[in-house]
Amino acid sequence: MNNKKGHIGRNIYLVFVFLVLYLPIFYLIFYSFNSSGGMNHFSHFTWNNYKEIWADQRLILITVQTFFLAFLSSLLATIIGTSGALGIYSVKNRQIRTLILGLNNILLVSPDVIIGSSFLIFFTVLGINLGFTSVLLSHIAFSIPIVVLMVLPKLQEMNSSFINAAQDLGANQWEILKGVILPTITPGIIAGYFMAFTYSLDDFAVTFFVTGNGFETLSVEIYSRARQGISLEINALSALMFLFSLVLVIGYYFISRDSPKTNRREKKMHQDLIR
């Protein structure tokens, strides 16, 4: 009885949180169908804002570039960040570890203009041509710390007896990594990837400073439109992006879901390793 009440309270709370999370998004999407200019009063329904996107080749190209950059940079950042977290985990001296973590967090605390302008100086001094490469490198760079922060706690929670046991069994480093460590920290890695992806999509200032050669991202385009007023075309584009992401996320979930069978098999492998 008590338990059931708890369920209802729980669900009400979650529904409320999700409502809040999605409120501004639905608000944006709602006004993407507005025929008059702004997001304050709805005159009447229209598809025009969506038709405008198809007419704007440049905007489509920018959107594709933005996603390509986000997917690729967060993948690379996740790989480097995860190995960084593994490295930090293996440092036994507490002070050195805190120091490395402090350095790790510097890019998180520095405002984007500082990061952007120092990266700009850095790239021009090295003579790297500004364009896709410089933007990609920068996005990888500012996404790494967040991946480290996501993966590290998973490593710290890991039961070290697993590793010791595996070592005793004569497993080599690579086998331990693949068989014990990676499966344990998978949620951290996935979380890190999602965060890096978010950072990449959201960034404006750093991208602006290090871009060139006609390469531009959606954020830069949106911010630079603010002076003239951001048109509802951008709302419509966001609505489409939102739908696309939704399909992607749900698709990923159902493909990657471990069926109970494989789950059991993995557990068994685990046990075999320990035994």
Partner: protein, 356 residues
């Protein structure tokens, strides 16, 4: 492990797909040889996209269009190099600063067609005498926007009216040291380019008294706020005013008669330009009255091109917000580029005002 594998290969697949899409799209829009591409650096959404297509068809050049959101950010990029923009569109004081720092190429007037279309009162201005480095693109003013539901026109004729105690907590200011300090100086009968330390101190003391009336200090978003009746009065630019008046019929724009700022966005050729011929082709294309008129209709800012103005719809031509009378214009001043020390002084005082 399965999860990680699915994710890893899924992402690689998506990347490949996006890369192919990007390649296909890029093929259509040029991208490649620098003598065939004109690189333009401009504010976002500040040109009719149809004009880009038209230019490409007419001249055979491809346009690569990149955008910035502030003069200062643009300046940093051009100064630091690593990019090659053939055309940029900065504002007046920034052009002066760029000239001083040798970042611009001189424009050869002999290569221009249709310079005479530009209204002579927008040529030969203090920031670029004889237009050696820049050609006007759009222009505008700074003024007061008020909502007739709450405020009568007669109540906001002068800058001093903003200090009226009845407007407690009802003014939105544009977030700019030059603008806010400038209007205060104007209200004291001084120039917006005043650098006398005593004058600035006096202006700051007066400005502090404005604090109770200030509801918020905002930038571009001021449009959204005014359009939804959030505040009775705002200080902002004519271009922004046009935008919000489109959304809200109760809004009106007025320029205080004692003086205010007039601003210009001009086309320049940065030193780093690689395709000079293409740059001139673009300048000439935009000097053409038909093109300038089409652009002015799309962007809805005031065109300095006299011949183009005549091609605009009558209602637009007569619009007093966009095109104030010559008498009003005579009172307006362009911002000079300040020395680093004075610029800091302006901003420090403004920051202290904001902290108040």
């Amino acid at each position: 492990m399965k999860k990680l594998n699915v994710m890893f290969f899924g992402i690689i697949l998506i990347c490949l797909a996006l890369f192919t899409a990007e390649y296909e799209l890029n093929k259509d829009s040029g991208g490649g040889k620098s003598d065939k591409v004109v690189n333009i650096f401009n504010w976002g959404d500040y040109i009719d996209p149809k004009l880009i297509t038209k230019f490409e068809k007419q001249t055979g050049y491809k346009i690569s269009y990149e955008t910035f959101d502030s003069n200062e950010a643009m300046y940093t990029k051009i100064k630091q190099g690593g990019t090659s923009y053939d055309i940029a569109i900065p504002s007046d004081y920034m052009i002066q600063k760029m000239i001083q720092n040798h970042l611009l190429l001189r424009i050869d007037h002999k290569k221009l067609k249709g310079l005479s279309n530009i209204d002579s009162k927008f040529l030969n201005l203090s920031f670029d005498p004889e237009n050696k480095y820049s050609l006007p693109y759009f222009w505008g003013t700074l003024g007061i926007i008020y909502n007739d539901k709450y405020v009568k026109a007669s109540e906001v004729k002068h800058w001093n009216d903003l200090w009226n105690p009845q407007f407690k907590n009802s003014i939105m200011l544009i977030d700019g040291a030059r603008e806010v300090m400038g209007l205060t100086l104007n209200s004291q009968g001084k120039s917006v380019n005043d650098t006398n330390a005593n004058d600035l101190e006096a202006a700051y003391r007066k400005l502090k008294k404005l604090s109770p009336n200030v509801k918020a200090i905002l930038a571009d978003e001021i449009k959204v706020y005014m359009a939804q009746n959030e505040s009775p009065i705002a200080v902002s630019y004519s271009g922004e005013a046009m935008e919000m008046m489109d959304d809200n019929k109760h809004l009106h724009y007025t320029i205080p008669s004692e003086g205010s700022n007039i601003w210009f966005d001009n086309m320049v050729i940065p030193k780093t330009a690689k395709n000079i011929k293409g740059a001139y082709a673009f300048l000439n294309f935009m000097l053409n009255p038909k093109n300038a008129a089409q652009n002015a209709e799309y962007v809805a800012y005031a065109t300095p091109n006299g011949a183009a103005k005549k091609l605009l719809p009558k209602s637009m031509q007569r619009d007093k917000v966009m095109y104030p009378s010559n008498k009003t214009i005579a009172h307006l001043e362009v911002y000079d580029a300040l020395s680093q020390k004075n610029l800091s002084k302006y901003n420090d005082l403004f920051l202290q005002f904001k902290m108040h």
